[in-house]
Amino acid sequence: MIDKEWLPEGVQRCSFGKFMIWLAIWGAILLWGVYGMYLVLSKGLVTTNLNNYFGFGLWITFDLAVIALGAGAFFSGFLKYIVGIKELENIINLAVIVGFICYVGAMLVLVLDIGQPLRAWFGYWHPNVHSMLTEVIFCITCYCTVLLIEYIPIILENRKLSQNLFIRKLAHNFHIFMPLFAGVGTFLSCFHQGSLGGMYGVLFGRPFAYREGFFIWPWTFFLFVVSAIASGPAFTMLIATLMEKISGRKLVSYDVKMLMGKIAGSLLCFYIFFKILDTWYWATVTLPKMGLTFDQVFNNNAGFGKWLLWTEIGLCGVIPAILLIVPKFRRIPVLLYTAAILDCIGIVINRYVFTVQTCAAPVLPFDKWHSYTPNWVEWITSIEIIAFGVIVLSLSYRYLPLFPQERQLNKS
């Protein structure tokens, strides 16, 4: 293999040619997405299916979903470096890279989504300290930098690069300060997840999203934080499993996966309990105060039936919470993976309804329900982020020592 000396020591990788074909496929998708970006940036948002009713659509849903699923990075970092759960070192590198991909992807999507991308820095120049979105802008940019700082030492551990003494020492120094960055990352990402939830909860003009809360924070602030850390570790574990299926090699021991499942399950139980309470209070107190009934904020014909709520809370909330929290179920791989998938789907539905159903539900009594379907430009630019993620992850897996257990697990 041409790149043999760049590969981590003692592990097997596919041939260079095969790897190039894999990269070319995803590269082609990425290029298609770049064309979509070009269309949006040159011709404007009129190239999408967004409109005056749906100012937020697929992109913001995608953004919120990947940010939540990428929470495995900060939470695993917190548990490993601050709480001291040592077993997580076997998956922390992957969690950091997945988090990095999710955050970079979210930033790219946001650049497309705003009408004046060249003014994106105004969030720092003219900040409105009362806006949850200002907090989002601060946190996403700062935490993306932190994730980059956390990713760099993993890159520096490449076999060839680390032959250089300076790089080796630099990587070592990065590692020394990693608990500090893990702490800063935890703070930033926590507030980021929360402010994304707060963004919707404060919308007192939108009964579907509005929530009362504690001091200046609506309940959605806290629910978004907990739901993110309840799905992030599950998503990281699923990515590890998917990588195992694709590469045909064992990368993480099942014990570590069960631990990730247990973390996600415990938090999902906590989350779903409060989510049910929140929904009940909203349906029986908040909505009637605004003159609306629970039935009025759902509409099957527009594609926003109650089935979405039952799927989110029941099928993708209560069921995975039980499957993940009971050790007997967790020990069965198919149940662990199914529960993790349901957990992630539930959180995506949550972000979708808060983003799109909020805009679709009429508030003026003489207005009507609206529907929204994203067009190909919105889809391809979102898929582009997935392609970007696959490429970054593929390169990282091939050239960096991501999984400390890999050699041991594949000895036979």
């Binding site: 705003i114 009408g115 900040p127 404060v202 919308l203 003009g205 009964p207 003159g291 003026l364 009594p365």
Partner: protein, 255 residues
Amino acid sequence: MEHKEFKVKWGMVIDIDKCTGCGACMVACQAENNIAPMQDGSDKTMTLTWMLVYELSNGKPFPDHEIAYLPRPCMQCGKPSCSTVCPVVATTKDEEGGIVSQIYPRCIGCRYCMAACPYHARYFNWYDPKWPKGLDKTLNISASPRPRGVVEKCTFCHHRFMEAKEKARYEGKDPLKLPEDAYIPACAEICPTGAIVFGDLNNPEHKVAKLAKSKYAFRLLERLGTDPQVYYYSKREWVRRLADNYLSTEKTKGE
């Protein structure tokens, strides 16, 4: 965010019983505020209609069927849902007069304000504004055109307010005590039936201040707490009931 009180509070009272739905207010608004003609105006979810006339129906079959027209400008809310959420302070409510501003050169086009506004009074510039040859000569030099990618909305023809204050200063009068006819938005000026009355809600001498206190006066979605500065007026109970969301057991406000 704190709820600011102003000495002068510009407001409207729109008499729905007088409105014929002719749409002159919409046209006047578009011309006055340099809203470019759309390439395709058939998709109403993409158009810029700072002033939009809704058709209301009592939902009853003939012969009891009744309709009404409800012109909807920006409500210039006392407690705006939009300005509090804007991440870059591109929309504020801090000027004497209580008009919610929109600062186009600062707007980043995130559309969070649009998601926040329950009245759909905010519009995004999906297209580059283009005026057909010759029509550009009709542009109003007092109102700045907006580029693609920013949000815009009714400002009660704020440039007219600026001009009225300037004139008052020039004449040695107090710009904060403008007489009723010194400053009128284009929609109120053009309305052929006089359905739109405009003035200072805090000035008891102004007609709007009296009309807003009528038992037939109401505001849109009052129970959300936005405290709009636009009032409506109708003697028809079904019209007033359509102004807000009510549970079936609740009585219409004022009944």
